[in-house]
């Protein structure tokens, strides 16, 4: 398939997944704010920090409160990671690859965008933003469903799945990192209520309970990072993402011929053999009691390596190279 088209399909899926995850994070924070155990201002500030766009937020909006953070993450046309901007970009990408995707996919993406645009026009009237967030999640899942059920599972579908899964791995890691921005585990991070909320943001609570029963920090992190079967766990995302990558290149697991295979394979292998203690302990020597900062350090390193894998994908498949360096296929 065309490099440009692969790029658009990949990003279209990342953007839709991103919008869904922003909706999930906001929903969770709304729930926690109702619990009343943590100061709401700190909660909303933590959410902005976990999104990674805190500098932009503080510069343009100042102090974090529910109304401002919701506006920033849901509708802000100047925040490229707001739900509105993600879906606008996704639809723009969908338009450029309109000939590659099925009509049901296009219609769901188009409807979802029109819905968010409509909601952003009347946002002053929001009684319960949860209805809006639910609809964004539902739309994203409808699009994913239409993608799986109406698009041939060939090369472009694999690019679509890679986009979804790599974005999801990044976002799940950010849900886990929220405790760091409350002010570390002392700020209530060990509270099972809050870890239930984190599991809830990934719709993971029920699947978690089947495996572990009671909610604890250690088990929740283990589940969301290392589980091989839960579709929002980071390990699962990398395993399936790498499968798609190898389906595209025709490569074999454990070997590589492109920078993309090398980076993604290495990151996946790290999770294959990682233990929960080293994740919670960060880079501290084995035997040291798990320090609260450990998880944050580990997540930070994971996110940079995921970014490196994304850059490698770009260089391998999407970058436009000058005519002289190109070779004919097959």
């Amino acid at each position: 398939m065309l490099s440009r088209v692969a790029d658009s399909v990949y990003w279209m899926n990342r953007q839709i997944e991103r919008a869904e995850n922003v909706a999930r994070a906001v929903e969770t924070t709304l729930g926690l704010a109702l619990e009343g155990t943590v100061d709401p201002g700190r909660l909303w500030n933590a959410l902005v920090c976990a999104s990674g766009d805190q500098a932009d937020f503080w510069a343009r909006h100042g102090l974090a409160d529910q109304a401002r953070v919701f506006e920033f993450l849901a509708f802000d046309p100047d925040n490229p990671n707001s739900i509105y901007c993600c879906l606008q970009a996704a639809r723009e990408n969908a338009r450029t690859v309109r000939d590659m995707i099925s009509s049901p996919m296009w219609e769901e993406i188009n409807k979802c965008y029109l819905f968010v645009r409509g909601a952003s026009a009347v946002r002053a009237d929001f009684a319960d933003p949860r209805e809006f967030l639910d609809e964004v999640k539902r739309a994203s899942q409808l699009i994913a469903g239409a993608t799986d059920a109406t698009m041939s599972h060939g090369e472009s579908w694999h690019f679509a799945r890679m986009g979804r899964l790599l974005e999801r791995a990044d976002k799940t890691s950010r849900f886990l990192d929220v405790e760091h921005f409350f002010g570390g585990a002392q700020g209530g991070g060990r509270d099972p209520v809050q870890w239930s909320a984190v599991l809830g943001s990934a719709s993971a609570l029920e699947m978690y309970r089947k495996q572990y029963g009671a909610v604890s920090r250690r088990d929740a992190v283990e589940f969301l990072v290392l589980d091989r079967a839960f579709p929002r766990a980071m390990h699962f995302c990398l395993i399936k993402g790498e499968e798609s990558l190898l389906a595209i290149t025709g490569g074999t697991k454990g070997t590589y011929s492109t920078p993309a295979e090398q980076q993604l394979g290495r990151l996946r292998a790290t999770l294959d053999y990682a233990g929960i203690d080293e994740i919670l302990g960060g880079q501290l020597p084995a035997g040291t009691p798990a320090a609260p900062a450990g998880l944050h350090v580990w997540i930070d390193a994971f996110q940079s390596r995921l970014n490196a894998a994304n850059d490698a994908l770009h260089d391998t498949f999407f970058a436009l190279r000058p005519a002289g360096t190109l070779v004919e296929a097959g």
């Binding site: 065309l2 309109r98 595209i248 004919e328 296929a329």
Partner: protein, 487 residues
């Protein structure tokens, strides 16, 4: 619904005759419309609007903020053409395209028609769309104008005239197909018991034509559609046609020319391209040959084309036959190459490049419609009877400064079709753009695109200027022996 209050206002109406009886072919449709209950028409129109929005059937408007998408207004009352009349229109279009293709080939190879004094030499050489680099070329299979969208209008006398030949990159066919789809989704009852010629096979016909004109050495030709990108006004159509044909939609940056062969950049390396259905104007095709500032074209493309390694559809250079001054000579062109009289008449046209005709135009400016010879989309047209004194003066100055670039025609009283206004019907002016494919044979898509001026009294049907569209039905008399071919 009470149709007795409908008024034709002295115009030729496509559905009703002067005594409000249905015209041939429209009997069933009129009966069904009359049976509608109060509010049904408006409800159906709303359903159709919603379907268009969901399907994302849009066009972009230039001059507004970048990439402004609009839904192209669609009116649910179809325009009907009786099959007998259609047969004559179809023959007329085939004749015209046949002759124009011979004309273009002659212009770039020998110019017999100029030497024989049928058209003046200044007409060809000064044509804005004449392309010197195409001289001496013969495209694969000798076809230049593979896809044409001829504009027809019906005057107050009930006669169909050719208004314009669009032989460059005519657009609108996707709306013909989508309009039919929307009609079937939202108004299935209207079709019951009718024999309406199908339009759904256009993409297959188009693909077959594109494969037919591939360079002979390409055994299994790879066809692509070349678009300037999503901000082009017709992007929806480009992606629609690529999708319907199952071929790649490419942009200039996706293509690369190596060793006078064209390739596309894929995730697996380079892949050879044999036929390019390009929706980019000649000027922007290849910065090495035409406009050097083009960023949507492909450097080296013309060289690959001249080497016979790729087919371009339409061929570069067809715009010369699209020139409105050349248009005035088409009846002579048909007689010259085919020895026949034109089946479809031209609108009488004054060519300002001819001094005596120019004098006539300047003295009757307030009665005539003045058109630039090489614009499309309705831009630059001055309607004499509706223009202000100042507009007429400016128009006169422009003609005097560059007479070659203008033609003038009498103001036509375009026919009308009943159109939904609220919950009732009012007449609105329409034109008709049939689409013609020239491959192994010449194929005319039954019906075409009916564009309608939605503003009361307006004659401007262009999508960029407040026009909408209607489904167009070629209706056959019910009776098995006269059924349309089921292709």
């Amino acid at each position: 619904m009470d149709l007795r209050s409908y008024a034709t206002d002295g115009y030729w109406d496509e559905l009703f005759d002067d005594s409000l009886g249905p015209r041939p072919g429209a009997e069933q449709l009129v009966r069904r419309l009359a049976a509608f209950s109060h509010g049904e028409l408006a409800a159906r129109q709303r359903a159709a609007d919603k379907a268009l929005l969901t399907m994302g059937i849009t066009f972009n408007v230039y001059g507004h903020e970048a990439g402004t998408e609009k839904i192209w207004p669609f009116d649910i009352v179809p325009r009907v053409i009786d099959a007998n009349e259609w047969t004559r229109i179809e023959r007329g279009l085939k004749q015209r395209i046949h002759a124009l293709n011979l004309f273009i080939d002659d212009v770039y190879n020998g110019r017999r028609i100029v030497r024989d004094g049928i058209v003046p030499d200044w007409l060809v050489d000064s044509g804005k769309c004449f392309r010197g680099p195409c001289s001496g070329l013969t495209p694969p299979r000798g076809v230049w104008c593979h896809i044409t969208g001829t504009d027809l209008v019906r005057g107050g006398d009930g006669c169909m005239y050719v208004l314009e030949d669009n032989l460059r990159t005519p657009s609108g066919v996707s709306y013909v197909l989508e309009n039919r789809e929307v009609m079937k989704r939202t108004f299935p009852q209207l079709f019951e018991g009718q024999r309406v010629s199908p339009v759904e096979n256009y993409p297959e016909k188009l693909l077959a034509m594109l494969e037919y004109v591939a360079p002979p050495q390409a055994r299994n030709p790879t066809v692509v559609v070349l678009t300037p990108g999503i901000y082009n006004s017709a992007y929806f159509e480009h992606s629609f046609l690529a999708r319907q044909m199952g071929v790649e939609l490419v942009q200039g940056s996706d293509l690369v020319v190596l060793d006078r062969k064209v390739f596309m950049r894929t995730t697996q390396g380079l892949e050879r391209v044999d036929v390019i259905y390009r929706r980019i104007d000649d000027d922007f095709l290849d910065p090495d040959v035409f406009r050097p500032d083009s960023v949507v074209g492909v450097p080296g493309l013309m060289e690959a084309y001249r080497a016979g390694n790729v087919a371009l559809v339409n061929a570069p250079g067809t715009g010369i036959a699209d020139d409105k001054a050349v248009y005035a000579y088409v009846p002579q062109i048909i007689r010259y190459y085919l020895g026949e009289d034109a089946i479809l008449p031209n609108v009488p046209t004054y060519v300002c490049g001819e001094p005596d005709q120019c004098q006539h135009v300047l003295s009757k400016l307030d009665e005539l419609v003045v058109k630039p010879a090489n614009e499309s989309g309705g831009y630059g047209i001055v309607l004499g009877p509706r223009a202000t004194r100042q507009q007429l003066d400016e128009c006169r100055d422009r003609i005097k400064a560059n007479p070659r670039n203008f033609v003038a025609q009498p103001m036509l009283s375009l026919s009308r079709v009943p159109t939904v206004v609220g919950d009732s019907l009012e007449g609105r002016h329409v034109d008709l753009r049939p689409f013609i494919l020239y491959g192994e044979e010449i194929f005319v898509l039954p019906g075409g695109l009916t564009r309608v001026a939605l503003v009361k009294g307006s004659l401007v049907v262009n999508s960029s200027q407040g026009g909408g569209s209607k489904d167009t039905w070629v209706v056959h008399p019910s009776g098995a022996e006269s059924a349309p071919p089921a292709t």
